[in-house]
Amino acid sequence: MINLIPPDIKRHHKRLSRIYSLAFIYIAIIAGLGFAAGGMGIYNFSLKSAVNDKHTQVDDQEKQKTTDKELVSQASFIEDRYKSSPTFHDTKKWDVLLGQIAQATPTNIQLTGLQLAIDPKKPTLVTIKGLSPDRRSALLFKDKLTALNIFISVDLTDLTQAKSADQTSFSFTIQAVLGSSTVSQSTNDSQK
């Protein structure tokens, strides 16, 4: 078959068809971009109405919250006090400490004084005064207190012979520095 179309016209047709195809691609891309923008706009609109709905719901909830103002303020007070408990409440079991000192006291020693000086910023100083029939018992007492492992240090600060008409005794003073939190720990131990 003989192609009678002149080559110029053929080339022109080819070029036109390429331009059309390209224009079609351009239009498709533009349309795609347009649709995407439009779609997002519509989605944003629905999102906006969802936000408004949620806003209304939250506002209703806030209103409900204010209706029980007294109850809420009471609950808030209780919560605050509960959380303040460790700061404002003594957690140390001083009775346990006294019990331990009593347990460590030799049977031939009489205590004449027991003093606790408690300062939150410093370790507690325990001063124990007593009468012992001999020096050895006073030292034994000191050693027994050390063996309790609740004191940072235990020192015999005074041991004086006190002679009375019928017998000889020794007055002594022991000073012990209590380790922090050891009293509460010893409570747990005693509970075990």
Partner: protein, 268 residues
């Protein structure tokens, strides 16, 4: 060649102008709007869920209103907003009575009444009163060591400063080691939170005397809102129910009898 075509260049130019225009001018605000809406929705959803839990917990608390009120009163007693030294004395009196420590002397500071400063007329020859700045009230349940059971507590009131965040009270008496230990145990479960500051036990012969001082505290009303955590209330119940109050708050509307024709006449 297509590059030689004018139409091609016009179409391409138009495409670029429109395409870039859409990308440059339309997309950014749409995307920003999307992002902000999504963020707002997420925040609102979280708030909604939080409020939902909060309200359901509040509903639960409402069903057991009495228990919450009791808990509120216990927490108020443990760490009150006002010092309340006077009520503290009543509580301590109840505590020492429960232990049967008859000779205990209780001391706690009482607040001074703030008097507004007004120009006072000068009276010549009137006695000048010097006032300190703390009121301390001593309630002596009988005198120390004395055996006068049922003796009315003596109250002495030295003077002083207004509200103090920390009050130091003391209990002094002639009682033994066992009573001292019981007192320490009772102070741990005492309805008003306290911290022991000094403890002094001295024995001379058969007589033992104990002096104990401790601090009680005050705290202003909370500024934070209730978190809505029902677990906290349950834990608070466990904590506050372990404390013991040895007296009730005086209520002049329901107790006592009032009205005397001559209030200066001796009471029989």
């Amino acid at each position: 060649m297509i590059a030689k075509s004018k139409t091609f260049w016009i179409a391409t130019g138009l495409f670029l102008v429109v395409g870039l225009g859409i990308i440059w001018f339309i997309f950014p605000p749409v995307l920003a709007d999307y992002r902000s809406q999504k963020e707002a929705l997420n925040t609102l959803n979280a708030t909604y869920e939080q409020n939902k839990t909060f309200l359901s917990n509040i509903t639960k608390l409402k069903t057991d209103r009495q228990s919450l009120t009791d808990l509120y009163q216990s927490s108020q007693a443990a760490l009150p907003v006002k010092a309340g030294g006077d009520f503290l004395l009543l509580q301590l009196e109840g505590l020492t009575n429960s232990l049967g420590i008859a000779g205990a002397t209780l001391t706690a500071p009482l607040p001074a009444t703030p008097v507004p400063t007004a120009p006072a007329p000068t009276t010549s020859g009137s006695p000048t009163t010097s006032s300190g700045d703390t009121n301390t009230s001593d309630v002596k349940q009988g005198s120390a060591g004395s055996s006068t059971p049922g003796a009315a507590p003596t109250t002495t009131t030295p003077t002083t400063a207004a509200s103090q965040p920390v009050l130091t009270f003391s209990i002094t008496g002639d009682f033994g080691f066992d009573e001292a230990i019981s007192l320490l145990v009772k102070l741990q479960s005492f309805g008003r939170w306290n911290k022991l500051t000094t403890f002094n036990l001295t024995a001379s012969g058969a007589k033992t005397s104990v002096t104990l001082s401790a601090q009680v505290f005050t705290k202003p009303l909370p500024t934070s809102e209730f978190s809505g955590d029902s677990q906290v209330i349950e834990k608070a119940k466990q904590l506050f129910n372990s404390y013991q109050n040895y007296t009730t708050t005086p209520n002049s509307t329901s107790e006592g009898s009032f009205g005397r024709t001559d209030p200066f006449a001796p009471v029989h």
